[in-house]
């Protein structure tokens, strides 16, 4: 019997997860709403002088991005494990690493991508200089998938533990820190008119690394959690 190819299996999984998310419209909007809220709250919580906002803009954008994806990764695999569909996935002839990568990709499409797309608006609200916007978008486009992958690995590790939620942030943040530092650095450099291509390259390298290693880590972690 010919088992369907990897590409097809990947597409199937992404399609199913997207469909599930669109059934729950609210779920989809949440990370985005959250991101907008964080970035609008800052000016509200502070005395909103343009200079101050500009100074903190990169920090706010980046921390908000990290937290938004952290927030969502909590539920990345939880329901599938609880309702037993993850068990069936682990028993399908398709490689588990591929299927989990597909789930993470779907997750990124729904949480990370919208965030990249609305970042210019947020940047405008925080008086981020125009010239820093394209760099920030590019850096976010590279960094958010890394964050999703990190979230995926840690979610797979903790999903067997019913109340793993808080533990998850403890596990994710140390690993996510370099991403945050490089990302904020790219924005920072661009703001001051300097060359930020180095930080971008670094992020790209990290993304490649994460994409090639994390699926296997996720699969291994998931098999342990299902044991």
């Amino acid at each position: 019997m010919e088992v369907p190819g990897l590409g097809q299996a990947f597409a199937l999984q992404v399609g199913r997860d997207m469909r599930l998310a669109f059934r729950h419209l609210g779920q989809l909007a949440n990370p985005l709403m959250f991101f907008i809220m964080v970035t609008t709250l800052f000016p509200l919580a502070l005395n909103p002088s343009p200079q101050l906002l500009e100074a903190i803009a990169p920090g706010v954008v980046w921390v908000a991005a990290l937290l938004a994806s952290l927030l969502a990764s909590e539920s990345l695999f939880r329901q599938d494990v609880d309702d037993g569909t993850m068990e069936q996935l682990a028993l399908s002839p398709q490689p588990l690493a591929l299927m989990l990568l597909a789930k993470t990709a779907a997750h990124w499409l729904m949480t990370g991508l919208p965030l990249v797309l609305i970042s210019p608006i947020v940047a405008y609200g925080l008086f981020l200089p125009q010239e820093a916007v394209p760099v920030t978008m590019g850096a976010l486009a590279l960094a958010t998938p890394i964050l999703s992958l990190i979230g995926g690995m840690m979610a797979a590790l903790t999903v067997g533990l019913r109340r793993g939620g808080g533990l998850l942030s403890l596990l994710i943040l140390p690993i996510a820190m370099p991403v945050l530092i490089f990302g904020a650095r790219a924005t920072d450099l661009a703001m001051t008119g300097m060359e930020s291509v180095g930080a971008i390259y670094l992020l790209a390298a990290l993304l490649l690394l994460a994409m090639s290693l994390s699926p296997f880590a996720m699969a291994a972690a998931m098999r342990i959690s299902l044991d």
Binding site: M153, L157, T158, G160, L161, G164, L167, L170, L171, L173, P174, I175, M177, P178, I181, A217, A220, A221, I224, S225, D227
Partner: protein
């Protein structure tokens, strides 16, 4: 290699070995640390810039470098356990975590104490300091994950995976000083060519580092042995070894 791993990985063998080795490392640690510390405190010349305050270096630098060294060892042990399914390696990794966390804490504490006179504050948000703090979080995460899983087998495998993933942070901590310009001291000991540190100071520091290393090995042997005993509590060889029937 395979044979060696399996021989060493057998709990009875390890048990005997650790009983023999522990005193050696224990005494070596005691002697080296005493010598290094006394030498550092009394024999080394005061720093021309920092006066006597610099002497905390004899605790700070060894504990800071051990904090990373222990992590790497823990991750390696975890990897061995995961790949070859050797329980002893997991026991070693589990035993290493609290020791490493203690070294990290010590590095942070001595650094803070040193920072007060040097930089005028207990804490700054500097890359090396922050990444050392993150290392502490990594240790905490590892220990918390272990504690959160009640099945020992699963706890071993899951936390091993986490330790390996966490390895990526070690180079970042190590080289953060070079990648970012920070307040913290760049490498002074290991510089090739002209050593940036006085020879006398260096000797005592190296003695202390060696002492910390022996101390780590001795404590690791003891706590790994405790872990082995706990896991093998109703096995025959252990009862024989302990002389209980």
């Amino acid at each position: 290699m395979w044979k060696f791993i399996h021989k060493f990985g057998s709990p009875p063998h390890f048990y005997r070995l650790s009983v023999v080795l522990t005193p050696w490392f224990g005494w070596a640690a005691a002697i080296l640390i005493t010598a290094g510390t006394l030498g550092g405190l009394y024999l080394a010349p005061p720093d021309y810039q920092q006066g006597e305050g610099f002497r905390i270096i004899y605790v700070h630098v060894p504990s800071a470098s051990m904090s990373m060294f222990v992590y790497v060892n823990m991750a390696l042990a975890a990897a061995v356990g995961l790949i070859w399914r050797i329980k002893l390696a997991h026991a070693v990794a589990a035993a290493a975590a609290p020791i490493g966390a203690s070294f990290t804490f010590l590095a942070l504490a001595t650094g803070s104490i040193w920072a007060k006179p040097m930089w005028g504050t207990w804490w700054v948000w500097d890359a090396r300091l922050t990444s050392e703090l993150v290392l502490l979080f990594l240790y905490f995460g590892y220990m918390a994950l272990r504690a959160a899983i009640d099945d020992e087998n699963r706890a071993d495998r899951a936390s091993a995976l986490l330790a390996i993933i966490g390895l990526i942070n070690i180079p970042i901590i190590k080289y953060s000083v070079e990648w970012w310009n920070t307040l913290h001291q760049p490498a002074t000991i290991s510089k090739m060519g002209k050593p940036a540190m006085d020879g006398d100071m260096l000797t005592w520091l190296l003695l202390n580092i060696a002492g910390f290393m022996c101390f780590f090995i001795a404590v690791l042997l003891i706590s790994a042995r405790a872990e082995v005993i706990r896991r093998a509590r109703d096995q025959k060889w252990l009862k024989q070894a302990l002389g209980v029937t």
